[in-house]
C-alpha cells in the first residue's frame, strides 16, 4: 500500500507528451490518477490501523492493582491481547460481568450470527434468484420490492423489528395463531439471537439474491435447453450445471456477507442492546472505548485480523475470485454486454 504511494511521481506532475502516440505515458498517468486515492486510503485506513496496533501495545491509564496508585500508562507488551484472549485482568482471571469476561461469548455469538445468517441467506438468495431468473411481467415491481429492505437504514430496520418483536407486537400475535406462546424477543437467549438473525436475513437476502441473479444470467440459455433435451431432472440441472457455473459470483457474495456479519453492530446494539447474550465483538469494542482505548485497540485489532484471515481463506481456498481483471480496451460491444449482465438483461426484457 505504502510502496505504491511512494512510487507515484506526484512531485514531477508533468503531463505525458502528446507526440509519443496514443498509449505513451499511460504508466505515469495511471499512477498520477490513483495517487490521491492512495493518499486518502493511507490517511484514513492505514494510519489508524497502524496507530491502533501501536495503541494496543500501551497500558490504559488507571489504578495499578498492586500498588493502588494511579498510573499513566506506558508499554503494556501484549497484555492487552492476553486480557482478551486469555481472559487475564492483570495477574488474575477477569471477574464475571466485566467486559474482558465477555470476549468469548461475544466471539461465539458473532460467529453464530455469521454462520446461521449466511447459510440462510445463501439458500433463500439462491431461491429468490432462481425465481427472478425468468421472463415475467412486472420485473420492475419485483426488483423494486426486494430493494426496499436493502435501502432502509439498518438503524431503522432495527427499530422496525423492535416494534414487530415487541411483546404486544405483531410477531407474537402471528405466532399465537399457530399456537406458539409469546416470546421475549429482545431478552430471551434464543429468541433474541433469532430476532437479530431474522432482521439481518430480511435486510440482506435481497442483496445476495441480486448478486446470484447477476451470475445466473451469465449462464447461456442453450445450456439448460441441452440439459432438458438430454433428459436431466431439475435437481440434476441445478447441481451439475447451475451451481458450478455460478460458483465464483456465489463465493464473492458469500465472502462479502460473511465479512459483513462478522462486524455486525447496528442490529444487536439497537434491537436487543446485547440482551440475551447478543453482544457482538463490535459492540464490545464500543463499550470498551469508554473504559480505555488501549485495550479497545487490542480488541479491534483482533477483529481486524479475524476478518482479514477469513477473507484470505475465502480468496485462497474458496474460489472467491474478487480481483478480476477488468475488460481490456480492445473488447468489443458483445463482450461488454456480457460484462454487465443485469443491465443487458434489463434492457432486453423491456420491463
Amino acid at each position: 500500500m505504502s510502496a505504491a504511494t511512494s512510487t507515484a511521481p506526484r512531485s514531477t506532475g508533468t503531463k505525458p507528451k502528446k507526440s509519443k502516440g496514443l498509449n505513451a505515458g499511460q504508466g505515469r498517468m495511471g499512477l498520477l490518477l490513483v495517487a490521491p486515492t492512495l493518499v486518502f486510503l493511507a490517511g484514513i485506513i492505514l494510519y489508524p490501523l497502524l496507530r491502533a496496533i501501536q495503541l494496543s501495545l500501551q497500558k490504559d491509564a488507571g489504578l495499578d492493582k498492586a500498588t493502588g496508585l494511579f498510573v499513566e500508562g506506558g508499554s503494556a507488551g501484549l497484555s492487552n491481547y492476553t486480557h482478551w484472549l486469555l481472559q487475564k485482568c492483570g495477574e488474575v482471571d477477569c471477574p464475571p460481568g466485566t467486559l474482558g469476561d465477555q470476549f468469548y461469548s461475544a466471539l461465539w455469538v458473532t460467529l453464530f450470527f455469521t454462520v446461521v445468517s449466511v447459510v440462510i441467506e445463501l439458500g433463500l438468495g439462491m431461491w429468490f434468484a432462481m425465481i427472478m431468473n425468468r421472463d415475467f411481467k412486472g420485473r420492475a415491481l419485483v426488483r423494486a420490492a426486494i430493494l426496499v429492505p436493502w435501502a432502509i437504514p439498518t438503524a431503522v430496520t432495527a427499530k422496525l423489528w423492535l416494534f414487530i418483536f415487541a411483546f404486544d407486537g405483531i410477531a407474537n400475535k402471528l405466532i399465537g395463531y399457530v399456537g406458539i406462546n409469546p416470546q421475549l424477543w429482545v431478552s430471551d437467549p434464543w429468541a433474541a439471537k433469532f430476532a437479530i438473525i431474522i432482521a439481518d436475513v430480511w435486510k440482506t437476502t435481497p442483496f445476495m439474491a441480486l448478486l446470484i441473479l447477476a451470475g445466473l444470467q451469465l449462464v447461456p440459455g442453450d445450456v439448460y435447453e441441452a440439459a432438458q433435451i438430454d433428459g436431466a431432472s431439475k435437481w440434476q440441472t441445478f447441481i451439475k450445471i447451475t451451481l458450478p457455473l455460478v460458483k465464483v459470483p456465489l463465493m464473492v457474495a458469500v465472502l462479502f456477507r460473511t465479512l459483513d456479519v462478522m462486524r455486525i453492530y447496528d442490529l444487536p446494539a439497537i434491537l436487543t442492546n446485547g440482551g440475551g447474550g447478543t453482544t457482538s465483538l463490535s459492540m464490545l469494542v464500543i463499550k470498551q472505548i469508554q473504559n480505555g482505548f488501549h485495550s479497545a485497540s487490542a480488541l479491534s485489532t483482533i477483529i481486524f485480523l479475524l476478518i482479514a484471515f477469513t477473507a484470505f481463506l475465502f480468496i485462497q481456498f474458496g474460489g472467491a475470485d474478487v480481483v478480476q481483471r477488468p475488460p481490456k480496451s480492445k473488447k468489443k460491444e458483445p463482450e461488454a454486454a456480457v460484462g454487465n449482465p443485469v443491465a443487458a438483461n434489463a434492457t432486453s426484457t423491456g420491463a
Binding site: P16, L22, G27, G30, L33, V34, T37, L41, I45, P48, L49, L55, F128, R134, D135, F136, K137, A140, A144, A145, L147, V148, P149, A151, I152, P153, T154, K159, F163, I164, A166, D168, I170, W202, T205, F207, L210, A214, P220, G221, A253, R263, Y265, D266, A269, S282, V285, I286, A296, S300, I307, V323, P326, P327, S329, N340, P341, V342, A343, T349
Partner: protein, 300 residues
C-alpha cells in the same frame, strides 16, 4: 401470448421457456406464487412501519392489517423537540454529511476509477487489491485511534462535521471506485480513441466526450455513496455531537414520554421519513442501482 410480448432478440432462452411454459401451466402458477412471496418479503415489514406511522398512538399494537385510526400526530411528535429529540436537525446534518462525503469520494474516486478501467500502469492490480481490501475493512478497527485523534483535535464537541465525513470516506471511497470502475470499463471507449486521433489530449477526450456518457454511472455511484453515508450508524454514534447528530443516531436514541417507554409510533413516523426518499430513488433508479451493486461482484 407471453412469447410475443416479452421475446427479447438477444436472450435465446425464451424459445425454450416458451415450450416449457405452454407444456406446464402449473410451473407458471408456481412462478407467480414465488414472485408474490418475494414482493411480500420486501414490502410487508415496510408496509407495517408506514401503517403504524399513521396510526393513533393509543392503538400502537392494533393488529388490523390495513390503516386504522389514521392520524398525522406521530409526524408532529417525531419533529417535536419537547422530549429532547432533535430529529429535524438530524435530517439536516445527515444531508450535509451525506453530500460532502459523496462529493469528496467522487472527486477523488473518479480519476482512480478512470485509471483502473482504462490505463495500464505498473502496480495496477496491487492498487485494485488495496481498494478491495479497503472495501472489506471493518470500520470498528478505526474507531479507537480516530476517537483518540479526534478528541485531541477537539472535534468531538461542537459542529465538527469533518469528524463524521472523514471516517465515512473510508468506506464511501472504495465503494465509489469499485462501482465506477465497473461502469467505466463497460463504456464505448472507441469514441475516446476517435477523439484522441482527432487531436484531443487524454484529459480533453475524457472531459468532453466520455464524461457526459459516464454521467448515468456517476449518478448511480453518487446515490450508492450517499445511501451508504446516510445509513451509517456505528461511527456516527461515536463521533457525532448534538450539533452533528445524524438521523440514524437520532432514531436509535429516540426517547418517549416516560423513560424506558419506546415511542413506537413516533419512531415509525421518523423511520418512514428517513426511508421514503431512499425508496423513491430506488424506484426511479432501480435498474442502474442493481447493476451498480452487482457490477463489482460479478464480472464475466
Amino acid at each position: 401470448m407471453t412469447a410475443t410480448t416479452t421475446a427479447p432478440p438477444t436472450s435465446g432462452r425464451t424459445e425454450a421457456q416458451e415450450i416449457h411454459f405452454k407444456s406446464d401451466r402449473a410451473a407458471k402458477i408456481r412462478m407467480y406464487l414465488g414472485l408474490s412471496a418475494l414482493v411480500i418479503w420486501g414490502l410487508a415489514p415496510f408496509y407495517w412501519m408506514v401503517v403504524t406511522a399513521f396510526r393513533n398512538v393509543g392503538y400502537t399494537f392494533d393488529s388490523t392489517p390495513w390503516p386504522t385510526h389514521v392520524t398525522l400526530d406521530n409526524f408532529t411528535t417525531a419533529f417535536s423537540t419537547d422530549r429532547g429529540n432533535h430529529f429535524g436537525a438530524a435530517l439536516v446534518h445527515s444531508v450535509i454529511i451525506g453530500i460532502l462525503t459523496t462529493a469528496v469520494a467522487l472527486l477523488v474516486g473518479v480519476s482512480a476509477s478512470y485509471a483502473l478501467a482504462r490505463l495500464d500502469f505498473p502496480g495496477k492490480y496491487a492498487v485494485l487489491g488495496v481498494i478491495l481490501g479497503a472495501s472489506m475493512f471493518p470500520g470498528v478497527a478505526l474507531v479507537s485511534p480516530l476517537f483518540q485523534l479526534f478528541s485531541n483535535f477537539g472535534w468531538l464537541t461542537g459542529a465538527n462535521y469533518q469528524a463524521l465525513i472523514i471516517p465515512n470516506i473510508s468506506f464511501a471511497l472504495p465503494l465509489t471506485i469499485y462501482t465506477l470502475t465497473a461502469f467505466l470499463s463497460e463504456m464505448p471507449w472507441e469514441l475516446e480513441e476517435s477523439a484522441r486521433i482527432d487531436g484531443c489530449t487524454p484529459g480533453q477526450a475524457f472531459r468532453k466526450i466520455m464524461l457526459p456518457l459516464a454521467a448515468p454511472g456517476l449518478f448511480t455511484t453518487a446515490i450508492l455513496a450517499f445511501i451508504s453515508s446516510w445509513n451509517e450508524f456505528l461511527l456516527a454514534s461515536l463521533f457525532s455531537t448534538k450539533q452533528t447528530q445524524t438521523v440514524t443516531v437520532a432514531i436509535a436514541n429516540f426517547t418517549g414520554a416516560q423513560p424506558h417507554q419506546e415511542p413506537y409510533t413516533a419512531v415509525m413516523a421518523a423511520g418512514t421519513i428517513v426511508t421514503v426518499p431512499l425508496i423513491i430513488m430506488v424506484l426511479i433508479f432501480q435498474r442502474a442501482i442493481v447493476s451498480g451493486l452487482t457490477a463489482g461482484g460479478v464480472k464475466g
